[in-house]
């Protein structure tokens, strides 16, 4: 087993990571096992276990950067993403529906895009990039290939599609009440356009990175 000094160093390192607490426990257990395996192997081979353990830890700052980029994404579950997506979508739908003429143009478009961005799960962009980098798989029906849908894409799809469902429901309800005039402001498509643009840009970047 590796020395108490290294154990303390490892614990301090993991405690200092800017990642969710439950992920810290997992990382600490994994790195502890990793270093212990390295020291045991060195002892078996007649090498210096302390040096082997330290070498196994490698560059802690590089490890910190990598872990802090990926670990926060574990905080977001699919249900979490759906919940936030529904909340953002309903807010977007109501703000545009009740906002009047001022919300029909560029101001409305900027406000609803800001709402969708503000209610996105934490580190959603990092998560989206990770999801878009995933290898293409064939879907359940076996017809098309695409990336598996994770929490970030779930949020994007929810916040894009649900406002239209809300508006269709409002149109039907108002039609029953006798209101037959339909006004579709350009800002109604702002969130969908922003999400499509983001997916296009990040999708191209992900493909380029995969090719590189």
């Amino acid at each position: 087993m590796y020395s108490g000094r290294m154990k303390d160093e490892l614990e301090r390192f993991v405690a200092s990571l800017a990642i969710p607490a439950d992920r810290k426990a997992i990382i600490l257990a994994e790195l502890t096992d990793h270093v212990a395996c390295a020291t045991e192997a060195a002892a078996r081979d007649g090498l210096d276990p302390e040096a082997a353990g330290r070498a196994a830890l490698g560059n802690l700052e590089a490890l910190r950067r990598s872990l802090e980029a990926i670990e926060p994404a574990f905080r977001i579950t699919m249900w979490h993403a759906v919940g936030r997506g529904l909340l953002a979508a309903v807010l977007v739908a109501i703000v545009l529906d009740r906002g009047g003429a001022v919300m029909a143009g560029i101001v409305g478009a900027m406000i609803v895009v800001a709402i969708a961005a503000a209610l996105a799960p934490p580190r959603a962009l990092d998560l989206l990039r990770a999801e878009l980098r995933a290898p293409r798989i064939r879907g359940t029906l076996g017809v098309a290939r695409g990336v598996p849908i994770g929490p970030a894409l779930t949020y994007a799809l929810t916040v894009t599609s649900v406002p239209f469902v809300v508006w269709v429901a409002l149109i039907i309800e108002r039609a029953y009440a006798g209101a037959t005039v339909l006004d579709v402001p350009p800002s109604a498509f702002a969130v969908a356009a922003a999400v499509c643009l983001l997916l296009l840009v990040e999708g191209i970047r992900a493909r380029r990175r995969a090719a590189a």
């Binding site: 087993m1 990382i27 257990a29 994994e30 990793h34 560059n59 290898p135």
Partner: protein, 111 residues
């Protein structure tokens, strides 16, 4: 430059393919996974923790691998990774893709 020089920076996509390929053969914990790949590379590759665990966790986020807890012989907790069904599909795709890239590079660079 000797051709057997040890590499410690594997392109991200290649590391994914290597991890998926190793896990397609058996479930493994991080240290065993790294050593298995290094043995297979006959000393030409060194996998650093700075890239190993983040890559494994990224695969876990994507649903390609899943992790379960076991115990090492001395009782410490150990996280063992295995491929999911979609991970097996990804492993096959990544293997074919990287073998094709390797063939293409070999055809161009080895002449």
């Amino acid at each position: 430059m000797p051709r057997t020089r040890q590499r410690d920076a594997v392109p991200r996509g290649a590391l994914r393919a290597l991890l998926l390929a190793a896990l397609a053969e058996s479930d493994l914990h991080g240290y065993a996974l790294a050593r298995k790949l290094e043995r297979r590379a006959r000393g030409t590759l060194k996998i650093r923790e700075g890239s190993l665990y983040p890559a494994l966790h990224e695969l876990e986020l994507e649903g390609a691998v899943e992790a379960s807890w076991t115990r090492a012989p001395d009782g410490r907790r150990r996280r063992v990774y295995s491929l999911t069904r979609s991970g097996r599909r990804s492993a096959r795709g990544a293997r074919a893709e990287w073998l094709a890239i390797a063939d293409m590079l070999h055809a161009i660079l080895a002449t």
